[in-house]
Structures are given as C-alpha cells and as structure tokens.
Symmetry: C2
Subunit: 255 residues, 2 copies
C-alpha cells in the first residue's frame, strides 16, 4: 500500500462498538459527494490483547493496556498511518497514556496522537465560553485517575461528579452490567442503559453542572440527544470526529 | 502486533458507510458478554486509490480497481489478517475478482477471501428451499457483468431483474444520485433513496420475484426491514456477517 496521502488510524475495540461509533461520526461529519471525498482511515478492533483500562487503573489487573495499544499503533505506523486516535477516554489517563507515548519513543515510532480529552476541553471553551461547572460521567477507572478532573481544573473549570452510589449503580452499570450494560449488548443498547444515563445526567445537573461531558466512548451510544433534561451534553467522540474532518478535509465540515 | 489468533480483514471504503455497515452487523451478530468475545478485525476504508467498480465494468474508466484492492489485501496479510472479505458486491464481478486473485497469487499472498455472492446464494438455498424466481437489485456494473445472474443460474434459479428504466431511475439513482444518493449523503440515507428502494423491490415482486437480493453493499443502508411489500429481502452484508461469526465464534451466533 503506497502512503501517498495522509491516513488516519482509529484504534478501536474498546469496545468494538465505540470504535465504530467514531468512524461513523467521522463519515457523517464530512460533506461528501462521492466515496473519495471521505477521510481515509484504518480501524483496528482487536480487543483480545488489550487489557481492560479500568481494571488496570483500579489495580485489579497487573497488565498495563499501554503495551498492546503501543504495539497496535506501531503496526498502524508501518501501514502508512500519519495520525492516530485512541477511541477510549479511559486510555487517556496518565498511567496509560504516558506509557504509550514512552513506548512509541522507545520503538522510534513517530506517530502523532490526537488527544480525546484535550480536544474536548478545547471545544468546551469554544462552545460554552461563559460556564464554570462541568459535569463528568465516566468509568470507575477514569474517576480514579481524575482524567477529566485534572484537565478541567487546569483549564479553570470546576468539575461536578455524580455521587459515588449513582456513579456505580447508574454510570458504571450502564457500561459494564453483564445483563443490560453497553458492553454486553453491543450494537443494541438496552432501554435500561439509556434510562440510567438520562437519570445520571439529570443527577449531575441537579448538583450544579451546566454542561455534561460523556467521558467514556461507550456512553454516547446510550445518549442520542445533544440536550438531556435541559442540560447540554458534550460527546468527545463527535468532537474528535469533527476535529479530524477539519484536519483532513478543511473544506468539508458538515453544517 | 503479534498474530497469535485468527484476524478478520474487512476491505471497506466502497463506500465508507457500507464497510462500516458490515463491521456493525458483525458486532450485532455476535453474542458477547465483554469486548474480548467479539471477532477481532481490521477495517480498511481508503476509497482514494480504489477506482469505481461500476465505471470500470462499463468501460468508463480504464483502471481496474483490482490493483488497489490487491495492494490493500497484501497490507492486511502483512498485519496478520487470516481471512478477508471485500465489502462491495460489484468488486466480486469476474473481471475484477479474478484479477484480484491472480494478483494475490503473483504477490505470493496467501490470504483466503470470503465470497459475498457465493455465500448469499448458499444462504438463499438454506433459508428458501422452495423458491425459483429471485429478484436482484444492484449497480449498473453488477448488471453488466451478470454478477448475481450467473451465480443464480448455476444454482438453478431464475433471475428477475428490474426493467432498464426502473434500474436507472430507482436503483442506480438511489446509490449514485449527486443530490440524494446514498454515496452523496453517507451516514444519513435520504427519504428519497428509501422510497426508491421500496418501489424497486415492489417492482421486481410484481415481475414475479419471490425473494429479492440487495446486490450492492450500499442498498441495505436504505432498506431496514427484512420484508418489504410482502417480499423477503436478502441482505448479503448481514449474511456474510453471520457467516463470519460462525467461523470465528462458533458458539456465539445471536438468536
């Protein structure tokens, strides 16, 4: 395959449906008259070797998923990928993301990575210049590592988190529950997960959040509307998709 | 990336939304309790170098898309892909598909390809043992090359095609029209394309078709129901997705 043009790499599989959601949002964010107008990409969806990000951050698994992720990024680079994005918020937590960057340096792989969290914070400032209090919903691992909290703090925002029992029984369950969770019903999100997410958004709204970030790539699968219970919802997957379109096809953003 | 397990390659990009549709149907066809239960795959969506299949078959383009497709399959094989599928019915027409196989032999790339058309005919015999007359809707290129006609004939079926003006004004337009066609509105199929497909299915039904094959990977995007106007509709993308699940995850078909 000749690498004569910029090529995007989407590192998906965490879970598989979340990776596809990013590719789908990229396609719908690009105004195209034919196939060739679309951003060229390769999507890797190899969940087998990638240890669960949250389990690692909580100390429940000794394997840092950074190793498998860096291996896959190295393969992408070999294919001619010129910029990549990891379709998983939790993988951007420092104990994982910093190790990925270090491994790429060791392997001498020169592959720029777009940063899901940083791009989301940048967009927040652009779209909502007057707000202060930002709600964040995510996995246990993302909370533990203060992934969005630290980035929001640095940018001058106050973070509004759900109460611990809501976080466990609503957000974590919506993703991981073995009966109705998004990972267990991939592609067909349950009504239960959708309802739990509606309640969780409403809950952080009651605690003062002016906007809510869906800080796990699986959550947007269960939240279709841009405003829920009167609260604007920020979808990092949609934000990064629009950013990619502006990088690769500056004349072709939708809308 | 270590190739220690079977890995699927999906050659998409023809168009990009059709490739994603196959990946999505694969995920929803696999009963999974966690990310790792899903079939591992890489999806290539690089429409740039791949010449339009229909334009080549009609003689409107001198470039056989087989060359770019074989290059991409070679790259997949280098990544550790153990079996691949091309997410485009028209690319399975002999003037393209036979050249792909020849190029892979020349390159000494030993990569088995699943065959979208053959798998669809096999499934037809299994699900509808008593029928004779099979409607086929597809691109101009697929008709010109008699892609499904020959395969159906060999299997003892009679093919029912739409009349030429219906084929042009409904099926071809639903895919290629520059205002409302599926390729021009990727990800958000127009009501017009959906309505044209409903009328085209009804039309081949009136001509005697007992079932209808959606013989272009973009048509299922505009036809959501398994039965339209009382006629069962066969979606090759769904059929190949279920076949892949049975190959990779024999204990995990949905339903």
């Amino acid at each position: 395959m000749s690498a004569t043009e910029p090529l995007l790499g989407i590192l998906g599989g965490m879970g598989p449906q979340a990776g596809l959601d990013l590719a789908h949002k990229l396609i719908t964010s690009t105004r195209a008259e034919n196939d060739q107008d679309h951003v060229p990409f390769v999507l890797f969806s190899l969940p087998g070797p990638v240890a669960d990000r949250t389990e690692y951050l909580l100390g429940d698994s000794a394997t840092n998923p950074a190793y498998a992720i860096a291996d896959q990024l190295e393969s992408m680079s070999g294919l001619g990928v010129t910029v990549a994005v990891i379709a998983c918020n939790t993988a951007h937590a420092a104990p994982i993301f910093e190790v990925i960057l270090e491994l790429l340096r060791e392997k001498q792989v020169d592959l720029p990575l777009l940063h899901l969290v940083d791009e989301t914070i940048a967009r927040l400032g652009h779209d909502f210049p007057a707000i202060n209090r930002v709600g964040v919903l995510g996995t246990r691992g993302a909370y533990q590592s203060r992934l969005y909290e630290q980035a929001l703090e640095k940018a001058g925002y106050e973070t509004v988190l759900p109460e611990p029992d809501i976080r466990e029984q609503m957000v974590h369950a919506a993703i991981y529950d073995s009966r109705f969770g998004i990972k267990a019903t991939a592609g067909k999100v349950s009504a239960k997960s959708r309802e739990l997410m509606r309640l969780a958004i409403s809950h952080v709204g009651e605690r003062g959040a002016e906007v809510v970030i869906l800080g796990c790539t699986e959550l947007p699968l269960a939240v279709a509307a841009p405003i829920v219970e009167g609260i604007p919802v920020l979808d990092p997957t949609q934000i990064i998709a629009e950013r990619i379109t502006r990088i690769f096809r500056p004349g072709r953003p939708v809308g």
